[in-house]
C-alpha cells in the first residue's frame, strides 16, 4: 500500500510568487491534515479535511493560504502571494476514520518551501 505522498519535495520561490503544494493521502482515507514546521520550531496544525469538507481550519495563518480537496481525494495548499515567513516544511497526513479514541495519522515526507 502506498503511503502519503507530497509534491514537490522542494520548492524555491521569490517573495510575491504563488506556490501550490499537493498531497495524495493513502487510498481510502477520508481524513487529511496539513501541518507546517517553520525553521527549528514546532510542527503546527494548519487544517483538517473530512472528505472534501474543511472540518477545522483554525491553524491557517492568514488568507494568503488556500487549501482545497476537491472530490475528497488529493489536496492542494496554495500560498499566494508568498512571504518570507512562509518558508518551512509543509507536512500532510491522512487517517482512515478519525474520531475517538484517536485514529493514527500517517505522514508524508513533507515539502520544503523556501521563499527568497
Amino acid at each position: 500500500e502506498a503511503g502519503v505522498t507530497q509534491f514537490p519535495s522542494h520548492s524555491v520561490i521569490e517573495k510575491g510568487q504563488t506556490v501550490t503544494l499537493r498531497c495524495d493521502p493513502i487510498s481510502g482515507h477520508d481524513n487529511l491534515y496539513w501541518y507546517r514546521r517553520v525553521m527549528g520550531k514546532e510542527i503546527k496544525f494548519l487544517l483538517h479535511f473530512v472528505k472534501e469538507s474543511k472540518q477545522d481550519e483554525s491553524g491557517m495563518p492568514n488568507n494568503r493560504f488556500l487549501a482545497e480537496r476537491t472530490g475528497g481525494t488529493y489536496s492542494t495548499l496554495k500560498v499566494q502571494p508568498a512571504e518570507l515567513e512562509d518558508s518551512g516544511v509543509y507536512f500532510c497526513a491522512s487517517s482512515s476514520i478519525g474520531g475517538i479514541p484517536f485514529d493514527e495519522q500517517y505522514f508524508g515526507p513533507g515539502t520544503r518551501l523556501t521563499v527568497t
Binding site: E42, I43, K44, Q55, P101, F102, G108
Partner: protein, 114 residues
C-alpha cells in the same frame, strides 16, 4: 493553551548506550500522547502512543515510554541505541476534546556516535 516541551534540542549518545528523551505537556486533562520519529528524507513515523491504561507503553524499534500524570511527562526510552536510531524525535499530544489535531513539541535531534 496546550503545549508540549521537549527540553533537549540535541542529544548525543554512544552506540549501545541507553537513551531517554524528555517530554512534558501542559494541559488540564490527560491528552492522548504520542512519539514520532523522522529520519532524513522520510515522513514522520509513529513510534508509540498512550491513550489510557498501563502507563508503560511499548512501541516499535525497541522503544518504550512511560506516562507520569503527576509530572505531566511522557519520556521516551530505549535500553540500547543503534546507529540507525539517529533521527529527530517528536513528542505530540492530542487534546481529547479538540478533535484529531496534534500538538507537537519542537523535536529532539538524536546523534549516535560509534
Amino acid at each position: 493553551a496546550q503545549s508540549v516541551t521537549q527540553p533537549d534540542i540535541h542529544i548525543t549518545v554512544s552506540e549501545g548506550a541507553s537513551l531517554e528523551l524528555r517530554c512534558n505537556y501542559s494541559y488540564g486533562a490527560t491528552p492522548y500522547l504520542f512519539w514520532y520519529v523522522q529520519s532524513p528524507g522520510q515522513g514522520l513515523q509513529l513510534l508509540l502512543k498512550y491513550f489510557s491504561g498501563d502507563t508503560l507503553v511499548q512501541g516499535i524499534k525497541g522503544f518504550e515510554a512511560e506516562f507520569k500524570r503527576s509530572q505531566s511527562s511522557f519520556n521516551l526510552r530505549k535500553p540500547s541505541v543503534h546507529w540507525s536510531d539517529a533521527a529527530e524525535y517528536f513528542c505530540a499530544v492530542a487534546p481529547t476534546e479538540y478533535g484529531n489535531k496534534l500538538v507537537f513539541g519542537a523535536g529532539t535531534i538524536l546523534r549516535v556516535k560509534s
